[in-house]
């Protein structure tokens, strides 16, 4: 937010620019004002609530405060979910994102210990209330870190969908797990992403599931030949367009949670397949908002590519 305001830019990555509730929540957390946090979280949609809680989980030093909140009211699902996300975040801070072979035994132990603590807070929370979507989403994340297996992740996802259908933050969590590096395969991921996107109400941002699934595969492809065949795979392309028409290209496309990532990822896809009008349409929807992925892992590099694509889409040279 600050960055966006002090340096007006044509490419704005700060998620707070699209979701102004994020700084409101983090400010309330910083002053340890739980009733203000709850007032905000109770007023937004389940997807916004989960996403806000998840984002806030990366704030510093929340554990003591949240445990105190839960001591007073063990049934506070928002506090449990936030504590869960926060402990998982702390676990990953200890583990680091290094390759598994480079993680020391002490790091593994600290990681697992934090994930176990998170899971236990979350088990209690879903024992009190089986319909809290943020809790189930956090439990999907915990299940992956704890290697609880695909059957257990599926069970958690089924519970989540029974409580809150089409819960995009939870769907994105399961989609991660369906990548081959966790417990799934590209085919399973593709099917899940496509079917979930088409099952969501028309105009919702759920198309991003399939667009992100495509880029997850595309960016990890071994060589140009593999990338080329992915790009020209007719079934893949048909599915992506079918999903886009149900989502980002739908006349009723709404600015619900996830819309920036959805339009951004489809902009990248349409640019990749040289579909100029639809790339332009996505940039039109986005304005100056953007997400670095899948353009690049570096924001600076992504900004360059986004500007290039945008110029091309709006009729300039590439």
């Amino acid at each position: 937010m600050l960055r966006a305001m002090s340096h007006p830019s044509d490419v704005v990555f700060d998620p707070a620019a699209a979701y102004p509730d994020i700084p409101v929540l983090t400010a309330a957390l910083a002053r340890r004002d739980w009733s203000a946090c709850r007032a905000l979280l109770d007023s937004v949609s389940p997807a916004d609530r989960t996403s806000l809680i998840r984002t806030a989980g990366d704030e510093k030093d929340l554990e003591g405060f949240l445990r105190e909140v839960l001591r007073k009211d063990p049934r506070d699902g928002a506090a449990s979910a936030l504590l869960g996300f926060h402990l998982i975040y702390l676990g990953w801070e200890i583990r680091t994102a290094a390759w598994a072979k480079d993680v020391t035994p002490e790091q593994w132990a600290g990681f697992r210990d934090h994930l176990c603590q998170a899971e236990q807070a979350l088990i209690d929370a879903s024992a009190y209330d089986r319909s809290d979507a943020a809790v189930w989403t956090a439990r999907l994340l915990a299940a992956r870190g704890l290697s609880l297996g695909s059957a257990e992740s599926r069970r958690r996802y089924d519970r989540l969908s029974a409580a809150v259908p089409h819960h995009l933050p939870g769907q994105m969590e399961l989609a991660w797990g369906l990548e081959p590096k966790w417990f799934g395969s590209w085919e399973e991921l593709h099917e899940f992403a496509r079917d979930s996107a088409l099952a969501a109400p028309p105009g919702s941002p759920h198309g991003l599931l399939l667009a992100e699934a495509f880029f997850a595969r595309y960016t990890t492809a071994d060589n140009d030949a593999e990338r080329g065949s992915l790009l020209h795979d007719q079934r893949m392309r048909n599915d992506l367009y079918r999903v886009a028409e149900h989502s980002v290209l739908h006349p009723e496309f709404r600015r619900d949670y996830g819309w920036v990532r959805a339009a951004n990822t489809f902009a990248a896809y349409f640019a990749l397949v040289q579909d100029q009008p639809n790339t332009a349409r996505m940039f039109g929807v986005l304005g100056n908002l953007a997400v670095a992925d899948p353009w690049s892992h570096q924001e600076a590099d992504a900004a360059v590519r986004i500007r290039q694509a945008r110029t091309w889409a709006f009729g300039g040279a590439r």
Binding site: E119, Q120, I123, L148, A151, E152, R154, R155
Partner: protein, 489 residues
């Protein structure tokens, strides 16, 4: 209406019922009374008493954890003949039929699944015995049989039930005289309950020990309904779920729960079970479930009352020094159970719970403590090195044996050894009272033959279990361990 009477000094419960007349003679003895090296002796007695099943006559028996009974259905004369026949065999057991009966029991037990929870909770003693095979069968002598019957199958340790007009005037129960045997005292539970251990199947299992009371029985059935909904109907991850409530003589009750898993769903069955238990502990008890279970329980009790089905339980109670409980009192107790009562039991049950996870899974993440898989300090004594595997060590001392494999240690002290299993190929397993097994395999350790000789001298008699020859492929062969300089990954 159940009335109390006596036959030859043996207390009896009698009720006139609508169904066929039946009667049973129960003794306060069961597998929880057996030492590991005599495991199976009570079942053997039961088998010798009943002999071969005779056509057209309903007669059976059962060897339970704390009680063993003989039961028949028929005319008054048939009942008298059966009960007097039981007493006659117990007076003069046919020692010449032991081997034949043992063989039949071996055949009967082949393929029977093992309930692994008891040994993890209690060790290789008292209530843990239910986990063990009938290892004692092959070494039971006529003298052992005589002693066992003299201790447990006595007039003072028996009770009778009769559904019908009551025992015939002429009935004589000519049993040996002895003393009433108190129910076995359960040994220590695993530390830090709730605890978990990994099972060896697709199944998730759980057991707990609570106070014996109507609301605990209702809890067990409410738990089954919740499991059915979550694991079978809603989850589609399990095909069979069941719970059981087993009252014990001394005033506690064991509750068990099992769920199998559909192919590829074992982690989900575990996760689902963890959530079912946590939900009930948190007090999420469905009022409708409680009402349904209370209704079904009362119907079942009334039906049992009309057929004399409550009589065996009342006879068991007599042996525990409890009075006869009338149906009205029992029904009132069950009807008074509320969802809040069930939630209270659930919280106690959770704390005392022991979870058996499906093979290859763990439950540390759910807040369960690992039940110990290794034991006590390593004994001092002579060390024998593993063949090929440098991480393998056998320590043989004056107090016991330790086997060290990597970071796990199994120590069995001679003074707390429950049995020595001896194979003709030289393999010797010392089973500790805590159920830890120290496996002395001469094929795995250099020079371990002298340890085998020493163990054979130390355990020549009562604790020795002679095992049938193993298939050569079942004898452990040395495997090269990881080179010591390479770290485990």
């Amino acid at each position: 209406m159940i009335r109390l009477t006596e036959v030859d000094g043996i207390p009896a419960v009698v009720a006139r019922t609508g169904g066929p007349t039946h009667a049973g003679l129960v003794f306060r003895v069961g597998i929880a009374d057996e030492p590991l090296a005599r495991r199976g002796i009570t079942h053997l007695v039961e088998h010798l008493v009943l002999g071969r099943p005779s056509a057209g006559h309903h007669r059976n028996g059962a060897t339970g954890v704390e009680h063993t009974y003989f039961h028949t259905q028929g005319t008054a004369d048939e009942i008298t003949a059966f009960l007097e026949g039981v007493c006659a065999v117990l007076r003069d057991p046919p020692a010449d039929r032991i081997a034949e009966a043992a063989e039949a029991l071996h055949a009967e037990s082949a393929g029977r699944g093992r309930d692994r929870l008891p040994m993890w909770r209690y060790g290789a003693r008292d209530f843990g015995m239910a986990s063990y095979p009938e290892w004692g069968l092959d070494r039971i002598t006529g003298e052992d049989l005589h002693d066992w019957i003299g201790r447990f199958f006595t007039r003072e340790n028996a009770a009778l039930w009769v559904a019908g007009d009551g025992p015939a005037e002429s009935l004589r129960l000519d049993l040996r005289s002895g003393v009433r045997q108190a129910p076995p005292a359960p040994s220590a539970a695993p530390p830090g309950a709730p605890a978990w251990f990994a099972g060896d199947s697709d199944m998730v299992g759980w057991d707990t020990v609570v106070r014996r009371e109507a609301r605990a029985a209702v809890f067990a059935n409410v738990l089954e309904r919740q499991m059915f909904r979550d694991l079978r109907l809603r989850g589609g991850i399990s095909d069979q779920v069941r719970t059981e409530y087993e009252p014990r003589a001394a005033g506690s009750a064991r509750i068990t729960a099992y769920a199998d898993s559909l192919p590829g769903r074992r982690e989900a069955v575990l996760g689902g079970m963890v959530d079912v238990l946590a939900g009930m502990r948190a007090g999420r008890i469905d009022d409708e479930d409680v009402a349904t279970v209370v209704g079904l329980t009362c119907d079942g009790l009334k039906h049992a009352e009309s057929r004399g089905g409550r009589l065996p339980g009342q006879a068991f109670n007599l042996l525990a020094g409890r009075g006869v409980q009338g149906i009205g009192e029992v029904l009132a107790e069950v009807r008074a159970v509320t969802a809040a009562d069930v939630a209270e039991v659930a919280a106690d049950a959770y704390r005392e719970g022991l979870l058996m996870t499906p093979e290859g899974t763990a439950a540390d993440w759910a807040g369960y403590a690992a039940a110990p898989v290794s034991s006590g300090p390593v004994v001092s004594g002579r060390a024998y090195r593993g063949r090929k595997d440098r991480a393998l060590r056998l320590i043989h001392g004056d107090e016991g044996v330790s086997v060290i494999t990597g970071d796990a240690t199994a120590t069995v002290r001679y003074d707390t050894c429950a049995a020595l299993l001896a194979w003709p190929d030289g393999g010797r397993h010392l089973v500790g009272e805590d159920a830890i097994v120290a496996k002395v395999e001469p094929t795995l350790f250099r020079g371990a033959e002298e340890v085998v000789r020493d163990l054979d001298q130390r355990f020549p008699g009562a604790l020795r279990v002679v095992m049938p020859a193993r298939d050569p492929s079942a004898v452990p062969a040395p495997v090269a361990g990881r080179p010591w300089w390479r770290r485990e990954t």
